[in-house]
Symmetry: C2
Subunit: 419 residues, 2 copies
């Protein structure tokens, strides 16, 4: 994989150029893209041309190549949102987040594959660790491109588990910041209460570097050794739905963290969290039925069967059920704040297990939905694997607005796992 | 003005057709649009053709004509967001709210004029009560079209005071619902924390009818007489910036409400609200600098001077200031909930006074920003006027999520004012 932080340091030191990074990406694309299918579009020549701008060396991203999930509008690349309804669509402007990437000195190398409208309807991307397995979704191409060394940084989005799950399945760092830290304007939305922009990179320090550069925030965590965090091991009420290997991975991570000096305690989540877990689908689908109303009402035959069934069902959710779900969410957010009074982060699975076989499903977001609903920062930490060698990701969940602490804890965990 | 509720009742009763309503609108447009300039585009023939669909009589909106602020994407009308950058832009789809209008049986008669990107940079629309005065903004065309009898229902949006202020200046009912009740997906955004979709109609019962129909919510308040509400008279810390006539209007409204049985008490807002008032501009401008990054970075010469100066200034706002403003907001929201423990609504000015003379400014949003920031439902109540006969609007502010109670109190107030 391409470490964004390492590349940026070498560019700053004058031992590497941004154009050479594009060459690294191009070589990996040449070698692997035909099999993986991570990109909806890319333009190596245009990126190399842009990378030759000498001013980029002074920018936060140093001219590093960035992939953009094809759910974000770009003025220079067609943007199809993973839907045949939008094949060849050229937006008139960049989405806000893409503009922020460009302002930070990032070069958009291409658009990465999204599932249809960033939902559960799969796309064709394959998992670089085993092409017979899903890379997860909905940010399928972003996670796969990082894993295959085709990009150092990629943008994604999460409404259920669309950043953390593919990061886990592909063995890369995924970061879903606190709700509304990164804008979703100019992104095709599904749920205005849940849609959250996120980032992918090789390791936790890389994704923190990218977040710091793009958001202009104090999120770089590579300048000092992270302190041992206070970790709450949250098995959650769906622990039994995690595979034995995932359960072992989480417990291994917890044990290694404790050995390295972290204070690890078992946390039992209060019952409100089970209500909130159920509230997620109500909020998401009620809003999705309205967010995709134009497509559902005018192009229903061009919507995939999984998404169409979801939208069919969503039509029956009432405003009263939706309002109740939002009230539950509000209570659960307070409960999470109360719960984390004397711990820094929660440790919990990133997914039920390793990437499932086949491309008919992108896997389940059951270990992600709750944290998306609660707006908490989440980081996938890679480094563990199942017997077949497929990545098993564990998840750090931070307090709302404490994104830096979440990233520091994730970096700590990544390092102790790697020992 | 065209009462949406009255028209819908007559259509349901079979004494009027949706096509005839389009004719009413067309006649008013013919008579007044050349002077007022409320529309960015309209298509009477297409609307009449759509209105002939007999199934519309069974829909919530009964085929009523609706105007859409040109900040919302429409697939059938060009959408320019009030900016020359987007002249002739044809979005590939309807915004979510426009789809909801169509699902509810509304017919989009045209796009109404917005100020540039729904900001303070004025457009050319004039006030129907006196064409030498501004109609307010940013939903200038929607408010003016209702006031001139050119539409029974219009969509707007508010980031500062863009629904309530033009409604006040034009003497119509304006409703800014609780934050996130109506979707802003497919609307050109300026501030993702503040942008709120809203509605205009002739009277409070009309706007409640439209909101009920479009949102599919229990918001119709025309079936029984509203009960006298418990009103907190909130002069706010900027009371001295209201004109003497506006101060008198608010106090007249309060006195009439008390005479009619409402419990009216003076409310002193706690100091956190002054902090929140200041936080509004920080949140708005920090986000706006990112929301319009593409336009600012690529088409700066095509941005008007007021907006450009705002965005220039916004570049200096730090993430720390922004985060602090959001924390202040959170505290102020709790303070508002606490404050309203034993009152139903606040009564406060909708604007500093009547519509200012000239078109160089759309007036000040100082009496609106705080409530937008706090996400509370707001209703402009018309019926009072200054010595020159220009409307003076008073504002009802409800508790978050208690939109029905806010509308009921506004209807009560509208009726006692009219006595």
């Amino acid at each position: 994989m391409l470490s964004a932080l390492d590349l940026a340091r070498r560019i700053e030191a004058g031992t590497l150029t941004a154009a050479a990074v594009i060459d690294f990406c191009a070589a990996a694309i040449e070698a692997r893209e035909a099999q993986i299918g991570a990109f909806a579009a890319f333009d190596v020549e245009r990126a190399k041309s842009a990378a030759r701008n000498p001013a980029l060396i002074k920018t936060p991203l140093c001219g590093l190549a960035v992939g953009v999930k094809d759910i974000f509008d770009t003025a220079d690349f067609a943007t199809a949102y993973g839907s045949v309804i939008y094949t060849g669509h050229h937006p008139p402007s960049d989405s806000a987040l893409v503009s922020m990437v460009r302002r930070a000195g990032g070069i958009i190398l291409g658009k990465t594959v999204t599932t249809e409208f960033a939902t559960l309807q799969p796309a064709h991307t394959r998992n670089p660790h085993n092409p017979n397995h899903t890379p997860g979704g909905s940010s399928s191409g972003s996670a796969a491109a990082i894993a295959a060394g085709m990009l150092p940084i990629a943008l994604g989005s999460q409404t259920g588990g669309s950043v953390i799950r593919p990061a886990a399945y592909c063995g890369v760092a995924g970061f879903k910041p606190s709700y509304k830290i990164l804008p979703t304007l100019g992104m095709k939305g599904f749920s205005w209460y849940l849609d959250t922009a996120g980032l992918f990179a090789a390791g936790v320090a890389d994704v923190a570097f990218a977040a710091a550069a793009i958001a202009g925030r104090d999120l770089r965590i590579d300048q000092s050794e992270p302190k041992p965090p206070r970790i709450g091991l949250a098995r959650t009420h769906i622990w039994e739905e995690a595979s034995a290997e995932m359960q072992a991975a989480v417990e291994t991570a917890a044990r290694k963290a404790a050995t390295a000096g972290a204070r690890v305690s078992d946390i039992t989540l209060p019952p409100i969290f089970e209500d909130a877990f159920r509230a997620h689908a109500i909020v998401q689908d009620y809003e999705g039925h309205r967010a995709l109303a134009f497509e559902y009402d005018h192009h229903q035959e061009k919507i995939g069967p999984i998404l169409r069934a979801q939208l069919d069902h969503a039509a029956s959710i009432t405003a009263e059920e939706y309002d109740a779900a939002r009230r539950t969410t509000k209570r659960a957010r307070q409960a999470l704040a109360d719960l984390m009074g004397d711990i820094d982060v929660l440790l919990t699975p990133s997914a039920p297990g390793a990437a499932p076989e086949g491309l008919a499903s992108t896997g389940a977001s059951i270990f992600n939905r709750l944290w998306t609903l609660l707006g908490a920062p989440c980081v996938n930490v890679a480094g563990l694997a199942d017997k077949a060698g497929l990545p098993l990701g564990v998840q750090i969940v931070g307090r709302f607005g404490r994104d830096r602490a979440a990233l520091e804890a994730a970096l700590f965990l990544e390092r102790v796992i790697a020992r």
